[in-house]
Structures are given as C-alpha cells and as structure tokens.
Amino acid sequence: MDKRDTLWELFQKKNISRRDFLKTCVALTSLMGLSTELIPQVVEAAEQKPLPPVIWLHGHECTGCDESFIRSQSPLASDLVLNMIALEYMDVLASAAGEPLEHHLEETISKYAGQYLLVFEGAVPTAENGIYCMVGGKPILETLKHAASGALAIIENGSCAAWGGIQAARPNPTNSVAVSEVVRGKPIVKVPGCPPIPEVLTGTIMHFALFGQLPPVDSQGRPKQFFGNRIHDTCYRRPFFDSGMFVENFDDIASKAGWCLYKVGCRGPEAYNSCGNMRWWNGMSYPIQSGAPCVACAANNFWDNDPFYERLPNIPVPNTIANADKIGGILAGVTAAGVVAHGVASYIQHKVHQSKEEKAHGAGQQPEGDRDNE
C-alpha cells in the first residue's frame, strides 16, 4: 500500500519492454528540452525515482488550465495521470466527492508529508478572510496554506495562480492574488498562460517527476526552457516585422498574406512563452498563425494592458529592432527588481496612453493590388 513505484517498475508491472521504456526516456528528454547527452541521467532518474504524489487544488479559476492539461499530446494525459505521477487529489477528475474526497486529501497530506508536488490552479481570493471561494465548507485560502506547508514543491498553474489572473484585473473585487503572495518558503515555479500550452505544463510536471526538483527558472520564476524567449523572437512573421510589412486592418490583403500583426495590437514583443516555437497541438498553430494578435496571456497582469487592439507603444518600425528589444529588456529588468503585481502593466499602460496621443506613425507597406483577383 505504501510502496510507490518508479516509472521503470511501473513499466515492468505492465509488461512493457525495456526497449519501450528507454524509448520513453528519450522522448521525455527531448520533450523537456534537454540535450541528448542527458539521456542516461533521465533513464537513471526514471529507474530510481518513485512516482511523485501530486495534489491539485482549484481556487478562483475557469478550469481552462485543466482542460489544457488533458489536451497534452506528449506525454498524453492518460499516460501522465495513470502512469507517471500518482495524482492523489484533483477534484476535476476524481471519482470521489465530498467528505471521502476531503478525507483522502488529509490522508495524502500527512502520509506524503514533504514529498508531494502541489499544483495550484486559479487565484487565491483573500478579501474577507477568503469567503469568496469556499471548498468543503472552508476557504480555499486555508486549504492552500495547509497543503502548501507539507509540499516538496509548488506549481502555479496558469496565469491566475501565477499572477492573480482575470479576477485580479482592476478593480479586483475579491482581492485575488497569486499563490506565491500567500505561500512563502517553498520552491515555487510559475507556469503562466491563459491557459498554459498543454505541453508546457506537462513538461514541467515531468521534469519534477523524473528529477525530483523543479526545472531551472528565469528571474520571474518561470521554467527557462519554455519562457526563455519572447514570441516576437520566435514568431514566423518576424521577417515581415523587420521589413515593415504590416496588417493595417483585420481581413485586409496583408492579413490574407500573413504579414506582421504588430499594428493591430500584437503583444508578441513583450510576451515570453513557447507559442512561437512549440505552438499549440504540437506545431499546428498559435493565435498569430491564425491571424489573431497575441494578447500576452502569460504576462503579469496582462488583463490590465488593454485595450488589446491598440498597438504597443514605442517599438519603432521597421528595421529598428533594437527599440523593440529594449521594451522586453526593460520588462524583464523591472520585474526582476521585484516590482510586483501591476507595476509592469502600469508602465505599459502609461505608454499606451502616451501613444494614443502620438498616433501611430504610418511606416509600413501593403501588398500590391488585390492578389485574390490575380
């Protein structure tokens, strides 16, 4: 009963061959963005590391992050949930409800004290002692603190958990905050996105499952392997940006030609995420590829960086990428310096207000003629 299987033991029990096991390890290595030299270490970790127990709680959220989680292709959600982690508590998928489920939560917290991974999805409403989100007859704020105290590490799953998300947008009626604002002294990794790309979340969990620790993070606490670049730097439309070829209005001929969306509001120049390289559904598309400007859904307090169709200020174009990059640099710098919550958004917002007065200048081209009629 107490025995926890390693991935290799599980494979053995399931009569899956050593060869398949090694293949899985190779896949996992590349999934986690690790160099192939590390394959032996991944194999070793998978052989020796027991399946980590996972507790998954929900605060103020829309369950979009769970839905995204089950859309993962590699690893598939079924393999992850049934084979690679021991998902001991997750009310969205659990068979049980009510008292038996809450009892099981308590059991898991005490039995695996200091060993389990806590995934928290959603923001934590703190107004009036947390009465705006009651689960099992008590505030989720209380359950979070309780579960966090025994956790080995915590994942802030989605922009709500990482930054407060939509309910924390002005005027933040329930005083919702990020998990890390009410829990201290624990290793915490932020996996933002509204929702996160499925494989970004499952990749982070796999890293923990295999290595027993959180992946390396950037200055804002996000896994570097998924949040190391701006969308703008990995965007396949970047050559059009650099050449000053812009969509001026939705569904104009430049939209059909797939040119850069900067002028209709694209937030790619300030968005750190994997949409440009991994894309959604393993390379199938991402909002920009489908013609929609990025809204930077993984950025801190992006909701208050609206209106979303106003172009980002102060990113002169074309062929002056240095300035565009500066915005990214300032963003990272400011946040690293510890300016929390809405500071960054305020900065951008301020610039947006300025730019409204300045009026976007007209640099840019349009494709010649209506190519549809050619």
Binding site: L93, R237, S255, D306
Partner: protein, 630 residues
C-alpha cells in the same frame, strides 16, 4: 431524517456544494439545496473596458465550455452596435461552436459523468471474451443509423471504431488490475465502489466503458482542432468583433486559412462524426437502456414540468437579436418554453420566446431571495439589462463565516441568483432543447423542419423504439438528460460538417471575407447602445447583456445555463432544477449518496459560469488600485 453534505461536488467546473435531507428508512430526499460557493466578479472587471475586448474577458468565465461565453459576448456587442458579420465568419463560428459541443459532451460523459454509472473495480470481474462479444452486440443494437447532409464526402471509411477483441479487453483489464493492486488508485481513490448501483450493469459493460474512458481521454483533443486552425488555440480561441481574424486566401502560402488548413479541419470533423457514431451514442444508449430496464426513471425534477431554450446556429445573415431577426434564421429553432412534457407531447404546452420577450422584464428576470446579494426593493426581480447585485454574505446556519457545517435553506445560501421566466423556474440544457424542438415539430408549430430539427425528432423516435418507452417516460429523467447530451453530440458533429460544406461552397463562389470592419472605429458607434447575445451552449441557453456608453462597457450581465439549473429556491417559484431533481431521486445509502452525484452530474454542472454576477452600480468590495493611470 439525516442531513448529508456533499462538498465539493467533484468532476465539475467550479465550486458546488449540495445538502440533502434524507429519510433513511424510505430513501426519500425530503429537501435539497444547491449552493455555488465562489464568486469571481468578472462582470465587474468588464466594466469600463473596450467592448471589442469583452469577448476575451467573458471567455474566461469558463474554460470547460470555453468559447461559448466569447460567442455570446461577441453577439451581444454586435447586436448593440448593429454589426452584421460576413457569411464565412458565421459559418466558422458555427463550426467552432458545434465542435465545442461535441467535445464538451464527450469529455463530460466519459470523464466527468461515466464513473457514476461504471466502475473500474467492477470491470475486474469481466470475462474479456464476453466483453468483446458485448461490444459487438452494442454496435449492432445501439448504433443510430442516422446521418446529416454531407455535400463533400471526404471520409473513405470510419477511421475510429471501437475495438472488439478478447486480447484488447484482456490487456485493459490487466492494466486496471495492476493499478488496483498497487493501492495507488490516484483519481480512482476514496470512492463508494461498493455501492449497489454498480451492480446494475454486467461486469463486461464496466470493462467496455472503462476502456472507452481511456480511449476518449486521448482522442478528445482532436475534436477541437477547428479551434486551433480558426482561433489559434484551445481552450480560449481568438475572435474579433465583426467576424473572425483568420483571413482566407487560396493565393497565399502564409494565409491563416487555405486549402491545407481546411483539410485539417475537415479531418477533425470526420473524426468527431466517427467518435459520436461509434462510441458515444452506443455507449450512452446501452448504459441508459440497462438502467431504465432496472427501473431507474427518476431524477426528472423540473424537466417534465418546464424547460427553456434559445436555439442556435444562424444559417446566414441576421440584422439583430434584440429585434428578433435572429430567431427567423436558425438551423435549430429551439427558442421557447415547454410546460408539462411529462404528460406526453400532446398535452404539453408551448410558449414562444421571441425578440420582444427579451427586453420584457416580466418575461426574463432574476431574483436574489436566497442568494448572497441584496436588491434595492426586496422581493422585486430585475431584468438583466438593469440588474443590481450588492453582495451580502450572511454565512451558514451552523458553523461560522469561514467554517460551514450546514447552510441556511431558510435564508441566503448561494452566490447564484435565481433567474425566472414569467416568474417561474425552468430547466435548460440539451434535454430542454430536445424537448422544445420535439414538441414544436410534433404539434405542428414548426411546419417545415430543417434537416437538424428532423434529425432531432428521428433520434428521439429511434431511441423511444429501442427503449420501448414513449418520450415523456424516458426523457425527463437522469438517464434522459444524459442520453440527450449524447444525441446532441451526434447532431453537432453533423452540424460542423454542414457549416464546413457551406464555408467551402461560399469560398468556391468567390467570397473570402471573414470580418466586417466598417464599424471597427468607436467613432462610428452611437453614444449609447445595448445588446443581447444568445447561444445555445453545451449546458443550455446562455445570454449575455451589455450596455455601452461613450465607447466603453457600462454594464455587463451574463445569465448562464448553470444559473438557471443550479439556482437556489424561491418562495413563489419553487425549487431550482438541481434541487428539484435531487428531491425526485431515491437514495439507497444516506452515507454514500451516489444517486445524488449521478443526478447532479447529469446536468453537467459548470459553476464558475453561474457565480460571477455583480451589479450595475458595481458595488466595490475591497478594491485595491495599484494602477496609477486608471
């Protein structure tokens, strides 16, 4: 009499609690309350924003029925501003909505509801060879041989078909056995697997269903591929007010939509048809049939008394929603209310729901008698366009404000308001939609049914024959609610195909427009405007209500399906749909109320949707302003 609390209700979106009073000797539920236990205030967040951004915010009301709030929001803003979207945008939105319907229903049935009917533990007793034989019988007997109109038949054969071999079921069974033996049950832990209701089905049916649970967990992601192509991601794909951002061009290799991209969508739609025909419909019908044969025809609650729907899928252009034009142009004209369907379709009464009704406060209004809000005039319900919500949290009956023992059924006990039609309660959802369309067609109110309306009638009649029961006996029950969702998934898969074909034909005719941007600039808008957006979402009739002033959102209200169904009681109107259905259900073991989970899950609860209302004055609670510029 025993008072039982189930909190949290699992396998749902959001946070729900129910409390029931059960007579332990008879198993009768004497009283039941349903409470939404969280409040996020999203409509308050929407206030003062650019109406062109509203859909982005509103979409985050729910990520399970992702996209439905975006669609209702876009329609509300477009209604207010008088924006007519291009044909292609309408077709694409309909494909997104219909594929969402198939996806949402599939995930609900297999991953959020199935474990109320089937058990992995019971599957261990199955004979794999008998399970393979059962799978064949099920496919023979419970497949509905119906099909929608298909003008471009691109699928050579059904690619996804249930496996029916002994070896397959043996393998699945071995895998389940290892999980059970390990003691690490994970998501299967701590449940009442010893409940007698898990004996209704033979072990082979449990094994078959558990195999499909796993199968569908991996397949469901492919159903929403249209969202990835047209909207860039899922959950929460992208739109724009006035149409879609995904421009179409057959001349550009970088175009968001070209032939290659359309082929990806087509492939996904074909798959969704196969999954509905080969898995979902036969599975839900065989389980339903065996439960009905075992006497489980309870849980109807309000369904036999009063149901409400709005209908959906505009065929082409419409000039507005509040003006009623929208209703003239629908593929599924389910707009209306049906009373007393439980007495048979001939005795049922139909009431239309049309444009003028939308703005009539006597027809649609919300009350707060048992909700944690106060109204300026106690007892006077308000229309959503002039809704008021001052939060007024009163805590429980027993326990304290942050530690509840029992909620107060005599006072306020939920963050959900109580919406009413003509001062009465109504149930919404796929079952409601099916009852309304069936009644309208059978009573001749719809003279010439569209193909989809005829499809609904054919489905209902085929199932009635299969179960050997008239519709009024099997439909307004827990089984009926769950079956209607499966039928709706099948219909929706063909609706995706239908609008895909229309899209292709329209492009073929030379029209590649996807957005109407003539009114994109706020300078072109009236100073004041209001609009309503309707959508028949997976959980039922959804309405968003917006007022716009000087280019900004002045008021925003959403009356969502789960508000209709999960709402608290009302002294004049009676019980809400969840509460009525629980009272209509017999509980065998008070300590293990599996029947309650089953009936509540049959509604596909979605609580974040239901509990986010705020007021027009926007009473601010603990407001923290950290943005100096706003």
């Amino acid at each position: 009499m025993k008072r039982i609390v189930v909190d949290p209700i699992n396998r749902i979106e959001g946070h729900l609690r129910v409390e029931i009073k059960v007579d332990e000797t008879t198993g009768k539920v004497e009283d039941a309350l349903s409470s939404g236990t969280a409040w996020r205030g999203i409509e308050l967040v929407l206030k003062g924003r650019d109406p062109r951004d509203a859909w982005l915010f509103a979409q985050r009301i729910c990520g399970v029925c992702t996209t439905v709030h975006a669609l209702a929001s876009l329609r509300a803003v477009e209604d207010a501003l008088g924006i007519d979207i291009p044909k292609n945008a309408n077709y694409i939105r309909n494909i997104i909505a219909a594929s969402q319907m198939v996806h949402d229903h599939t995930v609900h049935f297999y991953h959020l509801h199935a474990l109320d009917w089937v058990s992995p533990v019971a599957a261990l007793k199955a004979d794999p060879a008998a399970a393979a034989a059962l799978q064949n019988t099920v496919l023979d007997k419970y497949t509905l041989n119906l099909s929608g109109p298909v003008s471009f038949d691109t699928s050579a054969y059904a690619k996804d078909f249930p496996k029916a071999t002994t070896a397959y079921f043996k393998d699945i069974q071995n895998r389940i056995k290892k999980v059970v033996d390990s003691g690490q049950l994970g998501i299967f832990a701590a449940h009442y697997w010893d409940h007698p209701d898990y004996n209704v089905l033979p072990p082979e049916a449990h094994l078959m269903a558990v195999a499909h649970y796993l199968n569908m967990l991996d397949r469901q992601r492919e159903i929403v591929i249209p969202h990835i192509i047209f909207g860039g991601k899922n959950p929460h794909p992208h739109y724009i007010v006035g149409g879609m951002p995904c421009s179409i061009s057959m001349n550009d290799m970088n175009a968001p939509v070209n032939t290659e991209r359309l082929a990806v969508v087509d492939n996904s739609i074909n798959l969704s048809i196969d999954l509905a025909n080969g898995f979902y419909v036969p599975d839900v019908l065989v389980i339903g049939d065996l439960f009905v044969k075992a006497g489980y025809v309870d849980g109807g609650g309000l369904a036999g008394q009063r149901v409400l729907a709005f209908g959906d899928y505009p065929e082409d252009h419409y000039s507005g929603i509040a003006n009623g034009d929208y209703f003239k142009n629908l593929l599924v004209r389910a707009n209306g209310v049906v009373e007393n369907f439980g007495q048979g379709v001939a005795k049922a009464t139909f009431y239309p729901l049309e444009g003028k009704d939308l703005s009539d406060p006597n027809v649609l209004a919300e009350g707060v008698e048992h909700s944690w809000y106060s109204y300026p005039e106690t007892g006077k319900d308000l229309h959503p366009w002039s809704g008021v919500t001052s939060p007024q949290y009163t805590g429980p009956k027993e326990g304290d404000k942050t530690h509840w023992k029992y909620l107060d059924e005599a006072g306020k006990y939920s963050w959900i308001k109580t919406p009413k039609w003509n001062g009465k309660m109504a149930e919404v959802g796929p079952l409601a939609k099916y009852i309304v369309v069936y009644t309208k067609v059978k009573q001749g109110i719809i003279g010439e049914p569209t193909w989809a309306e005829k499809f609904i009638v054919d489905q209902i009649e085929t199932v009635s024959k299969l179960l050997n029961l008239p519709p009024e006996k099997w439909m307004p029950t827990t089984v009926g609610r769950t079956a209607a969702r499966g039928l709706d998934a099948q219909l929706s898969a063909y609706i995706s195909k239908y609008f895909f074909d229309k899209l292709v034909n329209n492009i073929k005719a030379g029209d590649t427009n996807v957005a109407n941007t003539r009114t994109w600039d706020p300078a072109t808008w009236p100073q004041e405007a209001k609009g309503v957006g309707l959508h028949e979402a997976p959980r039922g009739g959804l309405s968003h209500w917006v007022t716009i002033k000087n280019g900004k959102i002045d008021n925003y209200q959403a009356v969502v399906p789960s508000t209709w169904n999960a709402c608290p009681r009302d002294s004049k109107a009676g019980y809400g749909a969840y509460e009525a259905s629980m009272i209509d259900t017999k509980v065998k073991l008070a300590e293990k109320p599996l029947e309650i989970l089953r009936v509540v899950h049959s509604f596909d609860p979605c609580l974040a949707c239901a509990t986010h209302l705020y007021d027009r004055e926007g009473k601010e609670l603990s407001v923290v302003r950290t943005d100096p510029y706003l």
